[in-house]
């Protein structure tokens, strides 16, 4: 385990580990004394002397002692491991919270989930069972071998020639099992992805009548998985029987050689029994060694996968010495802003000034970089080059809380949490009056009657499914509820019907009067009277001005607008 992070988590529970190890030592001591007692008892019986009761009582006392100590060992070490698991997962969550949007674009949710769940658990298993067993095993093996040597060096030599084969077998088979298991995991994950996509896209599947073909694709994936499983079973199914075979062979060797020694009087029967107990004590550690090795390998691999996430540096961070703005006015300035995603430049030197309180419309063809540009304002990303300034200060010099607190961002495909509708809207606001006002302005209040529970209707998986329009209105209300200085609407009402949209826009008039706003829309007709229009094309501002200026310039805007106007005129005259 080469991860410094892992050991730092372990170090926090050093006391528990030390106590656990001390308990382990005591448990082993109690366990190792018992065969002595047994030997004395057997020899006594064979001699025909009475008084075995004392030995029986001693055995029981030792067993109780061992039980108490091994309980303490498990509780301390395994408990610490569970705590480490929780702490590690918490640290991971906190780390994820600091990462920027580009990270979440690169990483699939399922992948992150797998790391937070399975990998964290694999680390826990190593921290618990792994660290406990490795210590216990070493102590057990060392003391057993010592006692065996003390009892009969000859028998020790005979049996120890055989036993290590169990470990070798375990490691050798373990490696092959591991490889085959990985194949199984891969196939299993293929199957998950296939079924997940099928279910999510069931309408497409059905619309194109692909059901039979999908079942075939699924069957093939299932057969692949089954084949991999059987391949795994051929090795895995041999593991425990083979280990049992080795241990059994050692026991036979002991019976044969030890029996001769007893028969010839070189050893007492009690000693033989005692020896057989030490041998039995060794058999579990022989297997456990391989098992611990496995745990260690898995734990190390998992920790490495977690490190990959931990290593991801948040690209958007609080500055070390933030500039404090007394109050945000809302003056926005983009200066020579470049942004590249996956090496592809999305923004190529955008210069733009939006004075406080102005409403600016952003238009342009698909892929022009409109969404990317507005995402820079709440610092979902930072520009690759250039700067975005709020009230004249580079966003990167301001506290993140200030920047984000000033922005109300409504995206086209809003994300709602599985919580009540009210909680979703009140996400950034504690002011009940304002939240209810936001419901009203976003025209969400009128939907409440139809929703079970009204304000407290549960949204999401276990609650109601909102329509696209309702979701967009909820997102708008969420942004309005926090009373932002800057409001960004990224095609935010595209699924809202025209009538409701008009009502909402009428409401927004008063809100926008005192705020900076950036509105992305595909509806050119809505732009005629907006005071400033910015036309973005291929990551550059190609035109800006009033509707009238832009029309007069005869550029891209005029072109788009002319097409639209013609179409509307045609439509008005349609037969």
């Amino acid at each position: 385990m080469g991860s410094r992070r892992f050991w730092s988590f372990v170090r926090r529970h050093l006391r528990a580990y030390l106590l656990g190890y001390a308990a382990a030592l005591c448990a082993v001591a109690a366990a190792q004394v018992a065969p002595w007692v047994l030997r004395a008892a057997v020899d006594r019986v064979q001699r025909g002397a009475p008084g075995v009761e004392v030995f029986a009582a001693a055995l029981l006392g030792l067993a109780l002692g061992e039980a108490a100590f091994s309980y303490a060992m498990r509780w301390q070490i395994l408990g610490a491991a569970f705590r480490i698991e929780a702490e590690l997962r918490d640290a991971l969550f906190a780390h994820l919270q600091g990462l920027d949007a580009s990270f979440f674009h690169r990483w699939r949710t399922g992948d992150l989930m797998a790391r937070a769940v399975s990998d964290v658990r694999a680390v826990q298993r190593f921290a618990g069972v792994g660290l406990m067993r490795s210590f216990h095993t070493v102590v057990m093996v060392a003391s057993s071998v010592a006692f065996m040597l003390a009892t009969s060096p000859r028998l020790t030599a005979v049996t120890m020639a055989i036993l290590p084969a169990a470990t070798v077998l375990f490691v050798a088979l373990g490696r092959r099992i591991h490889r085959r298991f990985e194949v199984v995991q891969e196939r299993f994950s293929d199957l998950s992805v296939l079924s997940q996509e099928n279910f999510s896209g069931i309408r497409v599947v059905k619309a194109y009548a692909r059901e039979a073909a999908e079942v075939q694709r699924f069957r093939a994936a299932v057969e692949d998985l089954a084949a991999a499983q059987v391949r795994l079973a051929r090795v895995q199914g041999a593991l425990w029987p083979a280990v049992g075979l080795v241990l059994g062979t050692a026991a036979v060797a002991l019976l044969w050689e030890g029996g001769r020694l007893v028969a010839s009087g070189e050893l007492t029967l009690g000693q033989l029994v005692q020896f057989s107990y030490y041998l039995a004590r060794l058999s579990f550690p022989m297997v456990a060694a391989g098992w611990v090795l496995n745990l260690w390998q898995q734990g190390r691999a998992s920790m490495a996968r977690l490190e990959e996430v931990f290593r991801a540096k948040p690209r958007v961070q609080d500055p070390p010495a933030p500039v404090v703005l007394p109050a945000v006015r809302g003056d926005l300035q983009f200066r020579g802003v470049w942004f590249a995603y996956d090496g592809r430049a999305v923004l190529r030197g955008v210069d733009l000034h939006i004075p406080a309180g102005r409403t600016v419309a952003l238009v342009g063809p698909t892929g022009a970089g409109k969404t990317t540009l507005v995402s820079l304002v709440p610092r979902l990303f930072d520009p690759t080059q250039g700067s975005v300034r709020l009230d004249g200060v580079d966003l990167r010099e301001l506290p993140l809380r200030t920047v984000r607190g000033a922005v109300g961002f409504v995206s086209q495909d809003p994300f709602l949490f599985s919580d009540t509708l009210y909680a979703n809207v009140a996400l950034g606001s504690q002011d009940d009056r304002r939240v209810r006002e936001a419901f009203r302005m976003a025209r969400l209040a009128k939907d409440l009657d139809q929703l079970p529970g009204g304000y407290h209707a549960l949204v999401g998986e276990r609650g109601v499914t909102l329509s696209g329009g309702q979701r967009q209105r909820a997102a708008l209300a969420r942004a309005l509820a926090r009373d932002p200085r800057i409001l960004i609407l990224d095609d935010a009402l595209s699924s809202v019907d025209a009538q409701t949209e008009a009502e909402i826009l009428a409401e927004l008039r008063s809100v926008l009067r005192s705020r900076t706003a950036i509105v992305i829309t595909h509806r050119l007709a809505a732009l005629e009277e907006v005071d400033w229009i910015v036309v973005l094309d291929a990551g550059r501002v190609v035109e800006e001005g009033t509707h009238r200026d832009l029309l007069r310039n005869g550029g891209l805007y005029a072109e788009l607008y002319e097409q639209q106007r013609l179409r509307e005129a045609l439509e008005a005259e349609a037969p």
Partner: protein, 612 residues
């Protein structure tokens, strides 16, 4: 206390039925299962032989000390012992592999059945059930069933055989000493049972909490940017901490139970040995039992505890697997509400007349009352001629999407009929129907795979030229070819690597690739494409749609241009129909909608007054 057995029985009865269904999947492989059971019996027998061989060795060759040691006899016993071990090993290994193969085959059959059944379920079902849960059914739940089959049922049988075998062997060796051992068993049973019940509770507690934790984590990862933009990190973290702590507490409770059980079993093992020594030792001294018998008894006693402990653990495993299988079979029993007719009409060539006759439809039939509340469509009738182009307009919730859903038969109406070429769509096989009814959806869904996979939907028979042609007509060719890998570009999970507009162009192209012979229905497909792209797409489509019946569901009235007729829906009723001009002249719902949309241009004038 008295109700407990009844409850247990009730669960048992239910389990038997589930088990019977499960066994039906194993039946095709029953010969192999029989062979596996035979091997298991053999393996158990080899296990019983060990202590007996020890007894013989001690009593005959080791303990007597009469004259010279009988090396040959001892070697003979050792050789037999080795042989027995070898047999045990082969039997176990073969049995393991055999059972896995059976289990895997049976599970492959079950999985495919389950998946195929899901494919037959209506779209509504997938709206009701979260995808994650369905995926779990197909993957993990089936896996735990496999566990039940391979290591569960057969191994439990093996454990029981071993258990009874040991008891029998002990009774045969010396029934009085055997009774001493058996006297401890009630204690063992009590402790084991207590452990089992607590372990099951603890396991459930951990599982529930883990599920909550995972659901929260999943949601937080998906919605991270919202959390960040709204400065909610601390609150989210606090909630996560609560869930995490809760999970930890459950884990510790489970650990405490487990950490007590294993040492307790060990103590009871020693107790048995001590009792044997005490009782048997005295008798051996008096010469009533031989030393070999005593040693063999001790060995048996120690082996007795393994199957008991394993049974306790497996019993819980069985219960979990039973829960899984119940969930799976419940899913398999989910009725296919949209059945294909027993004798479907063939649907080779379609002219393309579409007719709705007094169609009443509610997504939730139980929630819709007679007064017309809760209905998505309320007595809608209209007819679209072959080759005609019709637009469906209306405010959100007017029922436009419902019309499309019914036409593709994703749902059936509660009253009235939907006809294609004068025949009720319920008379056709759904697949035949949909092969002719091309649908471009509002919520574009892309599969992870290449652009080509998404266009052809993994149908290798579609030639590349047709794909290119469709992409060109949809206006998607330009950006596809600009991508580094072109058609072989991976689109990522749900197409995240493409913009919303690009995804819609792909969806359009997909519809054209599959060349629905008659109908193309655009369900607001162009909503997130900018005006220029939309224009391109509309141009392209106009050519592609020549001669096909087309129903355009349009959000923006601008896209309604160049249709033959407009149907206006309002609150589930067809309120107006006609051309744009007729409808404007009528000054009804359509005219109001139209004016509202064109009038929207005024909003910014007063709204942005402060900016000058």
């Amino acid at each position: 206390m008295t109700t407990q057995p009844y409850e247990e029985e009730a669960v048992g009865a239910l389990d038997r039925r589930t088990a019977a269904r499960l066994l039906a999947y194993v039946r095709p492989y029953r010969l192999r299962v029989l062979a596996a059971v035979g091997l298991l019996l053999a393996a158990s027998a080899t296990e019983l032989a060990g202590p007996q061989l020890y007894r013989i060795a001690i009593d005959r060759y080791i303990a007597p000390r009469a004259g010279s040691p009988d090396v040959w006899g001892l070697s003979w016993v050792a050789a037999v012992y080795l042989l027995v071990l070898g047999l045990g090993f082969s039997a176990r290994w073969t049995q393991n592999v055999l059972m896995q193969a059976v289990g895997q085959q049976a599970m492959a059959d079950l999985r495919t059945d389950l998946f195929a059944h899901l494919q037959r379920l209506p779209v509504a079902f997938f709206h009701r059930n979260p995808v994650g849960r369905l995926v779990t059914r197909v993957t993990h739940d089936v896996d735990s069933l496999n566990e039940l089959l391979t290591s569960g049922l057969v191994a439990v049988f093996g454990d029981l055989v071993t258990l009874f075998g040991i008891v029998a062997a002990m009774l045969w060796l010396d029934w009085r000493l055997a009774l001493v051992v058996l006297a401890v068993l009630p204690l063992v049973y009590g402790v084991t049972e207590q452990f089992r019940v607590r372990a099951l509770e603890a396991y459930r507690a951990v599982r529930v909490r883990l599920a909550r934790l995972n659901a929260y984590l999943n949601e937080q990862i998906t919605g991270m940017s919202v959390v960040q933009v709204f400065n909610q990190e601390e609150r989210a973290r606090a909630r996560f901490r609560d869930l995490n702590e809760d999970h930890l507490r459950a884990n510790l409770a489970s650990l405490s139970n487990m950490a007590r059980f294993f040492p307790a079993v060990q103590v009871m093992g020693t107790l048995t040995v001590a009792l044997l020594l005490w009782v048997g030792g005295g008798r051996a001294v008096q010469g009533w039992v031989t030393l070999g018998v005593l040693v063999a008894m001790i060995q048996y006693a120690e082996r007795l505890f393994d199957p008991i402990r394993e049974l306790a653990e497996k019993f819980n495993l069985l219960q979990q697997a039973m829960a899984s299988s119940e969930r799976i079979f419940r899913l398999l029993d989910e009725p296919v509400t949209l059945q294909d007719p027993a004798e479907p009409l063939p649907l080779q060539r379609v002219r393309g007349t579409v007719e709705f006759q007094d169609v009443w439809f509610a997504y939730d039939a139980a929630g819709a009352d007679r007064d017309g509340v809760g209905w998505a469509l309320r007595g809608v009738s209209f007819r679209v001629e072959a080759g005609e182009r019709v637009a469906l307009v209306g405010p959100t919730g007017a029922g436009k999407s419902s019309v499309v859903q019914l036409l593709c038969r994703f749902y059936d109406p509660q009253r009235g009929r939907v006809l294609l070429d004068g025949v009720d769509v319920r008379a056709f096989r759904q697949q035949d129907l949909r092969r002719h009814v091309g649908l471009v959806l509002q919520d574009v869904f892309l599969f992870s795979g290449t652009i080509l996979d998404n266009l052809r939907l993994w149908d290798p028979q579609i030639p590349m030229e047709r794909v290119r042609e469709a992409a060109r007509r949809a206006g998607a060719e330009g950006f596809i070819e600009r991508l580094p890998q072109g058609y072989h570009t991976q689109v990522g999970e749900r197409g995240v690597r493409l913009s919303a507009g690009q995804r819609q162009l792909i969806a359009l192209a997909r519809a054209l690739v599959h060349d629905p012979q008659v109908l193309v229905i655009l369900d607001e497909a162009t909503s997130s494409v900018d005006a220029e792209t939309e224009q391109q797409v509309l141009e392209a489509l106009r050519g592609a749609l020549q001669g096909r019946t087309t129903i355009v569901v349009a959000h923006r009235l601008a896209t309604v241009q160049a249709v033959d007729r407009i149907l206006v829906l309002h609150r589930g009723r067809l309120v107006e129909e006609g051309t744009h001009r007729e409808l404007m002249a009528r000054d009804g719902v359509y005219a109001k909608l139209y004016r509202l949309q064109t009038g929207q241009r005024r909003w910014t004038r007063s709204g942005a007054g402060g900016g000058g």
